[in-house]
């Protein structure tokens, strides 16, 4: 988790919203985050197809919808519509940020297990893109003056290749990881679209409170 956070902080200077001296507001960085989300959605479609074929049936069957066995630690993207609507921007962004932080760590575990070199390359590329998304979300949050969520001690997502998991459950975890990623990206696209529309009217420029967030 610390590594993830460090990576995010490393990428923060690259976020346009933080670099602009003339303050264009958070609009462009939200747009870029939205675009990146859509790109990742597209990228995941091909990656998931390859990886699930690699796992074999029933995981690559289109109508396979197993009960969510294991994978409890994966952040769930599904949420009640009313609850979702009641969330404010800060909460939504925080949830997105936390979810992708977790998913990224699990995804790296997936990369380690992949047997074929081609699949490892695809996964590494996707991880890099997801890392970029995480940085973008952090940039948007900073532009809007929201603090980044601090990881609670002892809740760092870790990838454990331990024997506690049976191989079948491990495959199931991989399946759910990809499925949650897909749902999260879909949800994030909606979130950023919503935020983008909200920020579209000419509003007062949002100034960065970098000092307040410890930058």
């Amino acid at each position: 988790m610390l590594a993830c956070l460090c990576t995010v902080l490393w990428h923060l200077p690259a976020v346009p919203a933080l670099n602009r001296t003339g303050d264009p507001g958070p609009g462009p960085s939200i747009q870029k985050t939205y675009d990146l989300t859509r790109y990742l959605e597209h990228q995941l479609r091909s990656l998931a197809g390859t990886y699930l074929n690699y796992l074999g049936p029933p995981f690559n069957e289109p109508d396979f919808n197993p009960p969510r066995l294991g994978a409890e630690t994966l952040p769930r993207a599904t949420v009640d519509l009313e609850v979702w609507r009641s969330l404010n921007d800060k909460l939504r962004l925080t949830q997105n940020y936390e979810a992708y932080s977790h998913l990224l760590c699990y995804l790296r575990g997936l990369n380690r297990q992949a047997a074929t070199a081609e699949l490892r390359r695809s996964l590494a590329h996707f991880c890099t893109s997801l890392q970029g998304l995480l940085g973008s979300i952090a940039g948007v949050m900073a532009a809007l003056g929201y603090p980044l969520p601090q990881p609670l001690p002892g809740t760092e997502p870790t990838w454990t290749p331990g024997p506690a998991h049976s191989d079948f459950l491990q495959k199931m975890d991989d399946f759910w990881l990809l499925k949650e990623l897909q749902t999260w990206l879909w949800r994030s696209a909606k979130d950023f679209n919503r935020l983008k529309k909200k920020m579209q009217p000419p509003a007062a420029a949002v100034t960065l409170h970098l000092g307040a967030h410890g930058f």
């Binding site: 690699y54 074999g56 047997a115």
Partner: protein, 979 residues
């Protein structure tokens, strides 16, 4: 009896003692029953591990025993396996034995018991089995937690082709459980209400990520839970193939093998098989890091023999191969080096090389390969360290590639890699005279000799030919020889020689020297013999030629040929034939179908003078004609026409023209004589006539019908077929009478012309006879009389001599502009004033009878108006006043003018047309003056004189109608318009 009693007592006592002994033995063996049986499990291996002891064994005594083991499943009565285990049991020894279950142990409780028997020679028969131990129950409790379904075995690793049993445990028997293997449902055997087992026979390898098996529990359509396992199926580990070791420096042994299939599985379930090299003499072992080769360091110089075992191993299996060899027998030399060539000349060279030294007194076998001119030569040579080989019989000026490889001569193992170099031999003088032939053209006073020669083959050129020397020597007159040097690559030259005999020598020269000379003699007496050309048929393989032998001594024959149509110099070829041969086959790829080739066969006398023997011409393959003749139709009559195609060349065709096919189409169903019915390629029928003579290039088609439509088409044919199909030419025969008409008309026209000529010649006579000249009043004598009287007024007659019918006096106002040009004449009045008219009306209505006439001849006769002809002839109508009233309205007139005559405004100046005099000889009709009057009017008696009268312009105007001509006519009153 007493004896019997004693015997009986003894027997009973013996028997008793025996029974006592037996009971003692049994008493001794009964404690040998297995005791302290403990059963443990290995869930991964699905095995039961039994351990027990045998009590009461004599101290330090070994005893062979047999243990029988019984295993039951689910309940003790369900015995699934019984087997014996024989072993030697020592005092106080704990015995171990394992059994592997095909059914995962988690799915069923197992029961084990054991009994034993002594099977030792020290204890003679009979032996008795001990009692069974008590049943030991074995249960692997992994079905814990809240789950309602469990599938076993978990993530098992098996080898491809093995039989695997899987099972599930369902806690709720109400649930319906379905199991799937790779997405396909499988059916099993129910062991009890909770447990079902599935036997998978000979499982295949599907993927290294494992085969997925899962079960789903459901009640109705509601899923209650799902559990699955991954069965990892490994490929069978293969034995390494082609295992061998060799050394190239006696320091390292390089061992290689073919590893076969990689048995690695995903998720590190099984890594790739490992390879270990073990040498038995030294007892050393090395784990190889590569999967197909390994290097072994030679540490002891003294060790000559090695015994290697290569062990391939994975989690499931171990395979090994073994080789035993002497080190000196496995020497793989490094490739030779310093390959060089010394003393290279035109035909030989010395090749040298060096071999990497291995040990002292080593002899090497080397192999040399020499590649050049598409050939390969191989030589073997035995050398020490420095190799040398003399390469001979090489071709001059040729590039060779020589390479060498070596091996241990004493114990051949394998050749080293090749080491090679290229070298080129030096040039030598050409070894053969060039093949020369000639064409002699006779010209007035001299010979034009065109010499041809073929380039020498590389084999004979022995280098690059730089030039050809042609030496011409006159054989008739002593003179100096002429030398012509022609640079290569020319292959011909032209010489103009006078009518003497000449000897021509041709040599090819390279940088080293000249070839032998090729000699040809041109005779002073030219070859003027007329030789008939013979047609021959070629084949795809060429032309087969034969000829009559030349009388006298010949040194050979020459056949030359060229394309019939092309330039001689371009495609000229020849072939030399031996003196005893009178036939040959000319076969070359250059022969093309449809091309005619001319062959000439010469005999070469001992004096090297050529004599033309025969001429032949032919096609390697005849083709159908490429074009059809242009046909002309001559002498077309009603019953025949002639077709001719004189300009069609039969010589320049892709085959010998054998004749022509004439196709004729007509409406008549019957063909004409000589024609036969034929069906064309398009299916239509026509008549066909065949001309067999290719020089017959005309055909008279007769017996035709007049005024009939015919179509014809002429195509030549060769042995390969007809010419291309083309459109038919259409001919229509003329009418039968038209010729007759011509026969009649022509003389008639001739006669008419003759008469006309004669008339012309006799025109004066005819004129005088038929129509004498009309006297001209101006030339009459009366004019001379008037002149004589000097009367300024031209008065021909006195007015008093005439009785006028009517007198019209018109006073014309000034400024009136009138045009009067018949029906299309226009008139414009800028100002119309009412004119004053005076009509002199005739006293008698019928004035047509002969009577005196009075006319004025106005000397101011308006020529223009007069020239307008009879168009201006408007008779004076008695009803004119009434009409005048209608017309005098200025508006009406203006309208009429505007409507009909506006186009002619201003053609005649005002004041000049106030009076018009109309000849009474003119037609009364408006219109063309040449047109005949429809109502001819009798001219008055004085009609041969021009009578003139003034006509009112107003009256001359047509009414304002669209058809002025008709309107004008309506004004006419026949019989009343003459003066």
């Amino acid at each position: 009896m007493a004896l019997f009693a004693i015997f009986q007592t003894t027997f009973f006592l013996t028997l008793l003692s025996l029974r006592t002994y037996q009971s003692e033995v049994l008493a001794e063996r009964l404690p040998l029953t297995p005791v302290s049986l403990k059963v443990s499990t290995n869930s991964t291996r699905q095995s039961l591990h039994l351990q027990w002891t045998v009590h009461n064994l004599p101290y330090h005594q070994e005893l062979k025993m047999v243990f029988q083991i019984q295993i039951s499943r689910i309940e003790t009565s369900n015995v699934i396996w019984v087997g014996n285990y024989s072993t030697t049991v020592k005092w106080n020894q704990v015995l171990h034995w394992s059994w592997e279950s095909e059914l995962p142990l988690e799915c069923a409780t197992h029961f084990v018991r054991i009994k034993s028997v002594v099977d030792d020679a020290k204890f003679p028969e009979p032996n008795f089995w001990s009692n069974w131990s008590s049943w030991e129950e074995v249960s692997v409790q992994d079905s814990t937690g809240q789950d309602i379904l469990f599938v076993f075995p978990k993530d098992k690793l098996v080898e491809e082709g093995t039989n695997v049993t899987i099972c599930y445990v369902s806690r709720n028997i109400q649930n319906n459980v379905s199991c799937y293997l790779e997405g396909k449902q499988i059916h099993g055997e129910q062991l009890d209400p909770h447990v079902t087992a599935f036997n998978l026979n000979s499982v295949p390898f599907i993927r290294n990520k494992g085969t997925n098996i899962y079960c789903e529990a459901s009640q109705g359509n509601v899923s209650e839970g799902m559990k699955g396992i991954v069965l990892f199926v490994s490929k069978v580990l293969e034995e390494p193939k082609d295992f061998s070791c060799e050394t190239e420096d006696f320091k390292t042994l390089h061992c290689t093998w073919d590893p076969g299939t990689d048995t690695a599985l995903g998720w590190s379930k099984q890594p790739s098989q490992s390879y270990t090299l073990f040498e038995s003499f030294s007892g050393e072992k090395k784990l190889c890091t590569h999967k197909n080769w390994c290097n072994w360091q030679i540490t002891q110089d003294s060790q000559e023999t090695y015994n290697f075992t290569l062990i391939a191993e994975n989690y499931l299996r171990k395979r090994s191969v073994n080789i035993l060899f002497n080190l000196t027998h496995r020497v793989y030399l490094m490739n030779p080096f310093s390959v060089n060539f010394e003393n290279v000349n035109a035909t030989n060279a010395i090749m040298t090389w060096k071999v990497h030294s291995m040990r002292n007194n080593f002899t090497y076998l080397c192999q040399i390969e020499l590649h050049g001119e598409g050939k390969m030569m191989q030589y073997n040579v035995s050398v020490k360290v420095n190799g040398e080989y003399f390469l001979s019989e090489l071709e001059p000026a040729t590039e060779y590639m020589a390479r060498v490889r070596c091996a241990d001569a004493s114990h051949f193992w394998k050749w080293s890699e090749w080491s090679g170099q290229n070298f080129t031999t030096l040039e030598a003088a050409p070894s053969e005279a060039p093949d020369v032939w000639r064409i002699v053209n006779l010209e007035p006073g001299n010979h034009t000799v065109t010499l041809f020669w073929k380039p020498l083959s590389k084999l004979h050129a022995n280098g690059k030919i730089l030039f050809y020397n042609v030496v011409v020597e006159n054989l008739d007159k002593p003179s100096r020889s002429e030398l012509h040097s022609i640079p290569a690559p020319a292959n011909s030259t032209k010489l103009i020689l006078d009518r003497c005999s000449y000897q021509i020598c041709v040599t090819a020269n390279n940088s080293v020297g000249a070839s032998p000379a090729s000699v040809i003699v041109i005779s002073a007496d030219p070859e003027n013999k007329e030789v008939e050309e013979e047609r021959i048929a070629g084949t795809e393989g060429g032309f087969s030629l034969s000829w009559k032998p030349q009388p006298g001594d010949v040194i050979g024959y020459v056949v030359d040929w060229c394309d019939h149509t092309q330039d001689v110099l371009g495609d000229f070829q020849w072939k030399n034939v031996g003196p005893n041969t009178t036939s040959t086959v000319i076969s070359t790829d250059a022969f093309r179908p449809g091309v005619r080739y001319d062959f000439r066969i010469y005999g070469l006398s001992t004096k090297r003078i050529a004599c033309l023997l025969e001429k032949k011409t032919g096609y390697s393959q005849e083709l159908a004609p490429s074009d059809n003749p242009h046909v002309l139709v001559d002498t077309l009559t009603s019953h025949s026409f002639t077709l001719s195609w004189k300009d069609y060349s039969t010589e320049s065709q892709p085959g010998f023209i054998q004749g022509y096919h004439v196709y004729l189409k007509s409406k008549a169903r019957q063909c004409h004589p000589r024609f036969e019915k034929a069906v064309l390629s398009d299916g239509s029928e026509c008549c066909k006539y065949k001309i067999d003579n290719p020089e017959e290039k005309a055909l008279i088609v007769d017996n035709l019908k007049p005024e009939s439509f015919y179509e014809f088409f002429i195509t030549p044919f060769t042995s390969a077929g007809e010419g291309p199909s083309a459109t038919f030419t259409k001919v229509t025969t003329p009418d039968e009478h038209s010729s007759m008409l011509i026969h009649i008309l022509l003389p008639m026209v001739f006669c008419v012309l003759l008469i006309m000529v004669m008339c012309y010649l006799k025109s004066q006579w005819i004129k005088e006879t038929c129509y004498p000249d009309i006297p001209d009043p101006y030339k009459s004598s009366i004019l001379s009389l008037i002149k004589f009287k000097e009367n300024p007024h031209l008065i021909i007659m006195n007015v008093s001599d005439c009785i006028p019918d009517a007198i019209e006096v018109v006073s014309k106002p000034e400024g009136t502009k009138i045009q009067f040009l018949g029906t299309r004449k226009s008139l414009t009045e800028t100002e119309l004033t009412k004119p004053n008219y005076l009509y002199l009306l005739p006293t008698e209505k019928n004035h047509s009878g002969p009577g005196p006439c009075i006319c004025f001849e106005n000397l101011t006769y308006n020529q223009a108006a007069s020239d307008s002809g009879s168009c201006g002839h408007v008779p004076v109508s008695p009803k004119a006043p009434s009409m005048l009233g209608l017309m005098t309205s200025p508006e009406n007139v203006l309208k009429a003018l505007e409507k009909n005559y506006i186009n002619s405004l201003g053609e005649i100046p005002a004041g000049e047309t106030s009076l018009n005099y109309v000849s009474q000889l003119a037609s009364p009709m408006f219109g063309d003056k040449d047109s005949l009057p429809t109502n001819p009017v009798e001219p008055p008696h004085c009609s041969e004189y021009k009578m003139q009268m003034a006509v009112s312009l107003r009256l001359a105007l047509p009414p304002p109608t669209e058809n002025s001509s008709l309107s004008s006519i309506t004004l006419l009153d026949p019989g009343e318009h003459y003066c």
